[in-house]
């Protein structure tokens, strides 16, 4: 039991199959005899489709079907859900709504709006035949002016993506107290204002997207095999929006998933189209996306330009925060397209005592791929703005970056504390976190390290980011346990691992709770026909909500098993208590284990279930400190030291947690260092492969030091807070603050992400 206890680094049961090539991803599971689909995509960012000629393609060898947007309209298929309701926070006008809400069409029939927009699908016996036929489809385009840059899209003279959306505005949303903020700025002793750019990200999961569609004519049931974080969410969109059928006519199955980070969260055209084609042809249809396909058709992320102003009093206390974001929506509003710029803005309150905050967000259309949630979904963006603002303010008023934080941090005596944007902070030790991080990072030794860098002709800078996330708060998850006559537990969960290690974590959790060998516990996920419901995986909530539901189901299992144990003990049920894997007659030393229960289980087994819906979110928080070194001659720079101190509440499996942190930090460093989608003036994607889209490599990274300072979350029975996105939240601001610190000594006053070598060199050249 000890080996699987809370806090043990149980090794990942997934790793044997994943590391030895035995993992089974969507593309590995294409059934023999399946037909293959290939997409025809728009080569233009904005154009009217004047005609589509498929005549040559349909008669080519092996071609089974060519589907166009007109065909789908004739078939009466719907599109993909356009966003969900705009969130309402304190200060959000009651009538605030989208100004225009265009959904992502499965296939465009009239006007393409980004390079990669789906125009037709070709299905053939082989992928090569489908590709040949796709090249033979002649689409006549009348090219229109386009806009891809987010700030430019919001400008008065920008090309208009939608006639029904003047100014390219999808929504203009706000929250907070604008009057109080105005008053605070009026009496401020100092105001610091910065503009920050969160560049457009290609998520670039290791596994490309893919989908296999099947249709059973007898039952009228569609089956989709695909990579996803949220199988039930896909099922619901397919049933409700696309096909207009009952939920039980759609089955979504998910096998191993090679990373998602948000992009395999919502429905894509190909996932619906393989189902449509499967019904049309009466056979399985597979679409396996290539990396090139992904670079123009995956949902992308971030892409905001934000202006933030911080008002300080004469003692350097924060007295107000004003934020305005222009957030890219892309050509269409993706199913969760409005979430990132809006729903996580409360994280702007950070770890500080802010009397008032006002935030306004303009969601703008542009001729780009739709944006979706990506690791952190707005939290990293908020932390990035706030923490860069704090350090800029510190430099401007001549106060040390640590000291300015100390003057403004919330102390534990404040709990519970209602923030200016409505969150109820319940735990954490922010001042202790900052002190620990400074000690762990040896900030005291920074001056000596800087002197040594300078002696070698290099610049060195140090930067902090302290943050408080808000995760795992707003939905319910359920779990089911079946115990068979062989004593094995089958656990059904609606969460969906994309590589995080859920099978390991959940088995560990139940093993510790039930005092049962983890090898006797099977975790089942990713099948909507077998698992009744599921919110899926997102928002760092799989353990805090999904795990809590499994723990509740574990409690129910004990309840269901107690009569059998009582029978074995020849005692009354009320006299039997369960603890540490043993059912004991209270007040005696008579006890039996699970074997006594198992031997009494009937052929239908024992069924238990549980559910959990938190009443308050959790607040993972931490402090990251980065040190960078810059070669001023070339602009090349690297992260030399990286320290993070974290509070994730109770930690179930430190090894899994560290893996989550490393991945998150690396993606955050990637944004700071190199990641950006670039379009040319015609809207062509210049970053169409890894030859031009740079993700960080292992050799770009320092060792990552991780220290825990947990305070348990009161929001769930496990006391966990969620760690999936925190690394990302801290990394970009810590690293960019460090770079800004290094360059400040040379007169550089602004540096944006990604700070490519040329941008750093140019900044240094233009300094005084």
């Amino acid at each position: 039991m000890g080996a699987n206890a809370f806090g043990q680094s149980v090794t990942r049961r997934e790793d044997f199959r994943l590391l030895t090539g035995r993992g089974r991803f969507t593309a590995d599971l294409v059934p023999p005899g399946a037909a293959h689909a290939v997409m025809v995509r728009s080569p233009y960012a904005h154009a009217v489709i004047a005609g589509i000629d498929v005549a040559a393609a349909v008669s080519m060898p092996g071609v089974l079907a060519v589907v166009t947007g007109a065909d789908l309209r004739a078939a009466g298929l719907g599109g993909i859900t356009a966003g969900s309701a705009l969130v309402k926070f304190p200060g959000t006008p009651a009538d605030q709504d989208f100004l225009y809400r265009p959904g992502h069409p499965l296939l465009v029939h009239d006007r393409v709006r980004f390079v990669g927009d789906s125009v037709a699908m070709v299905v053939a016996e082989t992928e090569a035949q489908a590709s040949d036929a796709a090249e033979a489809i002649v689409v006549e385009y009348d090219v229109l002016p386009c806009v891809t840059d987010t700030k430019a899209a919001a400008a008065a003279d920008a090309a208009q993506v939608w006639a029904a959306a003047p100014g390219n505005l999808c929504f203009a949303w706000q929250a907070g107290d604008s009057e109080a903020v105005r008053a605070a700025f009026a009496r401020a002793a100092h105001v610091t204002t910065i503009e920050v750019v969160d560049t457009r990200i290609q998520v670039a999961s290791l596994e490309n997207r893919g989908a296999v569609g099947s249709f059973d004519g007898a039952s009228g049931c569609y089956t989709l095999l695909t990579g996803s974080q949220m199988p039930h969410f896909l099922r619901d969109i397919l049933a409700d929006q696309v096909f207009g059928v009952a939920h039980d006519k759609i089955r979504v199955c998910v096998a191993d998933v090679g990373g998602s980070f948000g992009i395999k969260n919502s429905l894509y055209p190909e996932q619906a189209l393989v189902l449509h084609a499967a019904k049309l042809l009466g056979r399985d249809v597979a679409w396996v996306g290539s990396r090139s396909d992904g670079f123009v058709s995956d949902y992308q992320a971030r892409d905001n330009v934000t202006t933030g102003s911080l008002a300080l009093d004469a003692e350097g206390h924060f007295i107000g925060l004003r934020v305005h974001t222009i957030g890219a929506i892309g050509a269409y509003l993706a199913p969760k397209g409005q979430l990132s710029p809006t729903v996580n803005t409360p994280v702007l309150a950070g770890v500080y005592r802010f009397p008032c905050i006002h935030v306004a967000v303009d969601g703008v259309f542009s001729n780009t791929a739709p944006t979706e949630v990506y690791r952190g979904a707005g939290r990293p963006e908020s932390v990035y703005l706030l923490e860069r603002l704090v350090e800029q303010a510190a430099r401007e008023i001549g106060v040390d970056a640590v000291e300015i934080r100390r003057r403004n941090l919330l102390g534990a005596e404040a709990w519970p504390y209602r923030t200016a944007l409505g969150l109820l902070y319940d735990s954490g030790d922010f001042p202790g976190m900052l002190d620990a991080a400074c000690a762990e990072a040896d900030l005291a030794g920074f001056a000596a390290r800087r002197a040594s860098s300078e002696a070698a002709g290099r610049l060195r800078g140090s930067g902090l980011a302290q943050y408080c996330e808000r995760v795992a708060g707003s939905w319910a998850e359920s779990a089911w346990i079946e115990m068979g006559q062989d004593g094995r537990l089958v656990v059904l969960t609606g969460t969906m691992s994309n590589g995080q290690g859920h099978e390991t974590a959940f088995a560990q959790l139940l093993s510790a709770q039930l005092g049962m060998d983890a090898d006797m516990i099977d975790i089942v996920q990713g099948d909507t026909a077998r698992i009744p419901s599921g919110a899926g995986t997102g928002g760092s909530a799989s353990l805090g909500i999904g795990g809590a539901a499994i723990a509740e189901a574990g409690v129910d299992l004990v309840r269901k098993a107690t009569p059998l144990a009582a029978d074995a003990l020849e005692a009354a049920e009320v006299d039997v208590a369960f603890h540490g894997g043993l059912f004991t007659v209270v007040g005696t030393d008579r006890a039996v284990g699970w074997d006594a229960v198992v031997s009494r289980i009937g052929p239908s087994g024992l069924q238990a279930d549980g559910a959990y819906k938190p009443s308050n979110p959790t607040f993972p928080n931490g402090c990251h400190i980065a040190e960078v070194e810059v070669d001023p001659e070339t602009g090349l720079w690297h992260v030399d030291r990286y320290t993070m101190v974290h509070d994730f509440g109770r930690v179930l499996n430190p090894m899994l947690l560290e893996g989550q942190l490393q991945g998150g930090v690396v993606q955050g460093i990637g944004q700071a260092l190199c990641e950006r989608v670039v379009h040319d003036g015609d809207g062509q994607v210049l970053t169409g492969s890894f030859m031009d889209y740079q993700i960080p490599r292992a050799s770009d990274l320092p060792g990552l030091e991780l220290v825990y300072r947990p305070t348990p979350s009161p929001a769930n029975p496990l006391g966990v807070k969620g760690c999936g996105e925190a690394g990302n939240a801290g990394a970009s601001p810590a690293v960019m603050n460090a770079l800004a610190d290094a360059l400040w000594t040379r007169g550089v006053r602004r540096i944006d992400m990604p700070a490519t070598p040329e941008m750093v060199w140019r900044a240094l050249m233009s300094g005084p």
């Binding site: 590709s131 090139s292 090349l636 190199c674 031009d692 889209y693």
Partner: protein
């Protein structure tokens, strides 16, 4: 990938004959550039002639010359004790190409015949005043490179080996394209008794070129300081999302200085 015929001849004559017989044929010499191109359907050859069985591998080192078979891989060049001893700059260059997987497949002959403007070897061949031997003649480096992706090779002409005179001192410095890790600016500096040659790859729109202003200054005085006042014009240099022409011009100066320092160390 489009469909094509695949041949793997075991004699040079058969390979040349096959390439000549099919106008849109292509030679496969490792394929670390060519196979990705095929996979993206950017090339549609009728026949792919694999040169792997032609016995064109091998390294011969004398005190004055290093000769390398065309099908010798980057990995073999990087790890050759003889090259490390006699012409370490070349071994070092090979060790910085791609990753180990690429270095174990990609070949020097394939790279030179492709003449990618951001490939490393062209700068070594030009700075060292090397000679290319083909199935029918020898070609001096000066005459071989004819602009990006263009060489003096005739249709069906195959490189068999490459030879490099051994310099007194040499070094290669590479500022990698941050994404692809190809040379964004690569500088090969070679000092011979007759003078210094400096070849720049990755930077110019017309492929590898000699930097004559640096050569004159360094021939007069082989030290980093000798070139500090020479401004490289940005005219004619590549400009892309990773580096503008002025930045590349600046990097040419920095990387040449560092190459000289390394050659002297």
């Amino acid at each position: 990938m489009y469909d094509f015929a695949y041949e793997k001849p075991s004699s040079l004559a058969d390979a040349v004959a096959s390439l000549k017989a099919n106008l849109d044929s292509k030679a496969l010499a490792g394929g670390q550039t060519f196979i990705p191109v095929l996979k993206q359907r950017l090339n549609k050859p009728s026949v792919v002639v694999d040169l792997a069985k032609l016995n064109l591998k091998g390294i011969t080192v004398t005190p004055t010359t290093v000769t390398i078979g065309a099908m010798t891989t980057h990995g073999e060049i990087a790890l050759s004790a003889d090259i490390q001893k006699t012409l370490p700059a070349l071994a070092h260059m090979a060790s910085m190409i791609g990753d180990w997987q690429v270095r174990h497949r990609g070949t020097m002959g394939g790279s030179l015949a492709n003449n990618d403007p951001s490939a490393c070897y062209p700068s070594a061949l030009l700075a060292l005043d090397g000679t290319i031997t083909t199935d029918r003649r020898t070609i001096k480096a000066e005459d071989f490179f004819q602009g990006m992706f263009t060489t003096a090779l005739e249709d069906g002409e195959l490189i068999t080996s490459v030879s490099f005179p051994v310099p007194e001192k040499a070094a290669y410095t590479k500022f990698r394209n941050p994404a692809s890790r190809y040379a964004m600016v690569g500088v090969f500096v070679a000092k011979f008794a007759a003078g210094v040659r400096v070849a720049i790859t990755g930077a110019s729109q017309s492929g590898v070129f000699r930097h004559t202003a640096f050569e004159h200054a360094l021939s007069a005085h082989f030290a980093a300081d000798a070139i500090k006042d020479i401004v490289t014009p940005a005219n004619g240099l590549n400009s892309d999302i990773h580096a503008s022409a002025p930045y590349r011009a600046h990097l040419i100066g920095v990387m040449t200085k560092r190459a000289v320092i390394e050659a002297l160390s």
